[in-house]
């Protein structure tokens, strides 16, 4: 296959960027999207041009490091029925001769570092604000001390599969980080171990979410539509219920 790429190039956070057009030849349909970018970069390097910077690591859809907007959709799922990360997208989903636009996540709380790489450290700070269970090493009771019903365990698991990629934020017109935050809230709220801090964590996490500059949720649903792990919107309903409940709890902060 031969592909025309239009890629966002931006030298650093301060620079203004622009779309630059490249031709990529001899693309195999079995290649992943990132392997296609590798091919471009090999070519650019040999021509003495700067390769395109993009984040990636595991290339199997689990570390959450990759993520670019492809033809306007975060991670490039397009209208495919299968959710995907950028690294798990394969060239067979494009046609020969296609023109593909590639851009970084665009959201205030995720400033561009260079080209397609952005700074998502705001997500870590949301977790620091309470996205954990306080259980010091060595202090744990036997694992079977607190059984967890399968339905709740499964719901906790489904929410916990969030990979922290940030596609939800990139897709949201408000740059809201609510799906990411709600996934963590729901994961921990479903488990008996998560109960003691349930209503305090939600307040501190939301406060940090807002302070980092993420917007509010207006129920548009773009986030869940691009989420590679299909984190459901009902996590946000869970978050809202818990947030309201937290207002009536004295143990909150």
């Amino acid at each position: 296959m031969n592909i025309t790429l239009r890629v966002w190039r931006q030298a650093n956070a301060q620079a203004t960027g622009k779309m630059v057009t490249y031709q990529v030849k001899d693309v195999s349909p079995d290649m992943s999207f990132l392997e296609m970018l590798d091919l471009l970069n090999e070519d650019l390097t040999l021509k003495g041009e700067e390769p395109v910077a993009f984040d990636h690591d595991c290339r199997e859809g689990i570390c959450g490091m990759c993520g670019v907007v492809i033809n306007g959709t975060a991670h490039g799922r397009g209208d495919s029925p299968v959710a995907t990360t950028t690294c798990q997208l394969h060239m067979r989903s494009f046609s020969d001769g296609a023109t593909i636009d590639v851009e970084p996540w665009r959201a205030g709380p995720f400033p561009v570092i260079k080209d397609l790489a952005v700074d998502r450290s705001a997500f870590d700070r949301i977790i620091q604000a309470g996205g954990f269970i306080s259980a010091n090493t060595g202090a744990a009771p036997d694992a079977h001390a607190a059984p967890v019903g399968k339905l709740k365990a499964d719901r906790a698991f489904d929410a916990a599969t969030c990979i922290g990629c940030g596609a939800c934020v990139a897709a949201c017109p408000n740059s809201s980080g609510m799906l990411f935050t709600a996934a963590k809230i729901t994961h921990l709220a479903m488990l008996p171990q998560g109960q003691p801090e349930r209503y305090s964590r939600i307040k501190t996490m939301i406060a940090t979410h807002d302070a980092e500059g993420f917007g509010g949720c207006t129920n548009i649903g773009e986030c869940s539509a691009v989420c590679p792990k299909e984190i459901p919107l009902d996590t946000i309903s869970q978050l809202n219920r818990d947030l309201i409940a937290s207002l009536f709890k004295k143990d909150g902060k």
């Binding site: 299968v82 570092i113 260079k114 967890v148």
Partner: protein, 662 residues
């Protein structure tokens, strides 16, 4: 600049010299069941109020590093934690799928600490240190408790209790799992504990910082030099002790199941500064990976070996059938070769055996799938029986995400047609040599997780690396490093110390040298060539002639690299080519040492298969009389061959046997 011209030769002895024997001096005497308690009791303690005056650098935020950083932060030490990704949550532990072992005996199937210990030593083909492995088994149960307390959502049964599955090489169900994302869930647990400490101010987190050098002062590890991967700033950091939890070096083969950034730089730089490197040639080739699609492939994807619980592996009996649609091949014309050769363990034989048999089948011309180059390199992993037994939904509940992943990568539907799999490099049992306390041969330098060599001998059993990473991070290191830190604070050091100045200069010089070559070949082209050499000569089957040839090829490759590599851009920038170039430099040097190690070990054991040493039916044949030791390699400068120190392995609890899974 750093091209090493080492003596070449024609005999194995030409490539190394032999130094004094070494021993682990930290494991106390006495019965194996009491050693760990005794060691913990005898280790010096640091008073809680003194801990905040002491600092520890931890490089790595995977299970080993993240768990240690959180635990040492909770204990009150000042922790400086580093990773090369943009968040600690992305360490490659995240990718582990199948599960984690623990001797809980929740299934009442006669499991015990001793049995887990025994299985791990046997699985490692009797090349691991008994004392370390026993301790691993001993703390395994605490890991599950700890993770559940943190909210790790392990798979559960309807009664609300934890579910288990079995894994290769054992006959009990002791593996805990979280669908096919066990590593992710365990790492998120450790990450959350870590972020809690960041918020508490006990851990300072440095993401996108790559460690490029160790700083040694008065014989002690006292700091590291890092490069800020966004700005290019080269900087030194100091502490009372340094921990490397930097993962495995499978990427020396270029194609592996490791993440693109996995590397050996931290361990290798420590090695160059005096840390011994243990058993570098012990590599695990995992049997169930998605086959290579072509030359532009950048990495390989593992399909969890838990699939072997329900999937059956086969190839056609006749080479003529290999092009056929597998569903058209009659039952009688299929060769379920693992079930045939190993009736007791069947599809659940250890990884090294399953991998080598897949290679044998393909070498016989019975491989399946499209030709890459001139051969078909794949075997079938077939779930039609399981789907008949459990239904499609039952299979999807166990393996749904793996099936989806397979479909996404290959474009084929594994519910309809059998998966194709082939072995791929997956794990490195070798690593920096450590004693029972996890201290390397440099005082104050500790190495944990996959980065050390300690627990898996010549072959790692499935679901044991997660166990080791968390054992090291939560329970072992936090109870041994205090013995060392009790002797601190050590002399004050800062960036003006000559050792720091020298280390920073070395890092900058190498960066300048890489940028100065301005040749005609890309970094990846060298990395791929290195990978080809390693896979061909130091992969699933190794021979004396092949290894000698490989050493020569790697030396030539290194010379060519320093003469002709093209690293674009500048240092003071987000420069991913420069990052990769630095890693490839170290991987090439390591690759050479791996070949030397493989060459000197003229026996087969576990994942190290020397064609010269096999039983009549083609199984690995150990030579305990000559090779019952850990090979700990000492770096000996650029022009001298490395020095081999043997650490004899002492088996007091377990009787040495020829491994058999028949």
């Amino acid at each position: 600049m750093t091209t090493t011209v080492r003596p070449t030769g024609t005999r194995p002895e030409d490539f190394f010299s032999v130094g004094a024997e070494i021993r682990d001096t930290k494991a106390p005497a006495g019965p194996i069941e009491q050693k760990w308690s005794k060691r913990k009791f005898e280790a010096k303690l640091v008073n809680p109020s003194n801990r905040r005056k002491l600092s520890v650098i931890i490089v790595g935020t995977g299970l080993a590093g993240g768990a240690a950083a959180a635990s040492l932060g909770e204990a009150g030490y000042n922790v400086l934690n580093f990773c090369y990704q943009d968040s600690p949550r992305r360490a490659h532990s995240i990718a582990a799928q199948g599960g984690i072992n623990a001797a809980k005996n929740y299934r009442n199937d006669n499991d015990s600490t001793y049995r887990l210990f025994y299985d791990t030593v046997k699985g490692g083909d009797y090349r691991a240190r008994e004392t370390n492995v026993y301790r691993l088994a001993e703390v395994s149960a605490n890991i599950i408790d700890q993770c559940v307390a943190q909210g790790v959502p392990f798979a559960r049964e309807y009664g609300g209790l934890l579910d288990n599955r079995s894994f290769g090489g054992v006959q009990v169900q002791r593996t805990f799992y979280a669908r096919g994302q066990t590593g992710q869930q365990l790492l998120i647990g450790a990450y959350q504990a870590l972020e809690r400490q960041v918020a508490a101010g006990t851990v300072a987190m440095y993401t996108r910082h790559e460690m490029l050098e160790v700083i040694i002062v008065d014989g002690r590890a006292r700091g590291i030099v890092t490069r800020d991967m966004v700005t290019g700033k080269v900087e030194s950091f100091f502490a009372d002790a340094v921990v490397l939890a930097t993962g495995g070096y499978g990427n020396v083969f270029f194609l592996s199941t490791n993440a693109m950034g996995c590397n050996v730089t931290a361990g290798w730089r420590a090695h160059r500064k005096g840390a011994y490197f243990g058993n570098p040639c012990y590599t695990q080739i995992h049997p169930t990976c998605i086959p290579v699609h072509g030359e532009t492939q950048s990495k390989l994807t593992l399909m969890s070996e838990s699939l072997r619980n329900d999937g059956r592996i086969w190839v056609p009996k006749r080479a003529e059938d290999c092009e056929k649609d597998p569903r058209q091949i009659a039952e009688a014309d299929r060769d379920y070769y693992l079930e045939r050769i190993y009736p007791a363990f069947g599809n659940l034989v250890p990884r090294d055996i399953a991998s080598r048999q897949a290679k044998n089948m393909c070498d016989e011309g019975r491989g399946v799938g499209p030709k890459v180059g001139d051969a078909r390199r794949g075997v079938y992993l077939d779930f039609s029986d399981a789907i008949g037994r459990l239904g499609k939904d039952g299979v999807a509940a166990r393996y749904g995400n793996l099936f989806d992943m397979y479909a996404q990568i290959t474009g084929e539907d594994p519910y309809e047609t059998p998966m194709r799999i082939y072995p791929a490099v997956h794990y490195t049992m070798g690593g920096v040599w450590v004693d029972y306390d996890l201290s390397s041969s440099i005082p104050g330098l500790y190495v944990t997780g996959e980065a050390n060599f300690s627990d898996h001998g010549a072959n790692r059993l499935g679901a044991s690396a997660l166990m080791q990473g968390l054992a090291d991070g939560y329970f072992v290191l936090p109870n041994t490093i205090n013995d060392y830190l009790a002797g601190a604070p050590f002399t004050k050091v800062d960036a003006s110390h000559p050792a720091a100045v020298e280390a920073v200069k070395a890092v900058k010089d190498q960066i300048d040298a890489l940028l100065a070559v301005d040749g005609t070949r890309t970094v990846d082209s060298f990395h791929k060539e290195l990978g080809h050499i390693m896979w061909e000569y130091c992969g699933m089957e190794r021979t004396e002639a092949g290894l000698i040839k490989a050493i020569g090829l790697i030396q030539k490759l290194r010379e060519e690299f320093w003469a002709d590599v093209k690293v674009s851009g500048v240092n003071e920038d987000f420069n991913q080519t420069l990052e990769r170039a630095g890693r490839v430099v170290d991987l090439m040097e390591l690759g050479e040492l791996m070949c030397v190690d493989a060459l000197h070990r003229r026996e087969s054991c576990g994942g190290h298969f020397r064609a010269e040493s096999q039983t009549e039916d083609g199984e690995a044949l150990r030579d305990d009389d000559k090779f019952l030791y850990v090979a700990a390699w000492e770096y000996n400068g650029t022009a001298q061959p490395p020095i081999l120190h043997k650490e004899p392995l002492v088996y007091e609890s377990i009787e040495l046997k020829q491994r058999s899974y028949k």
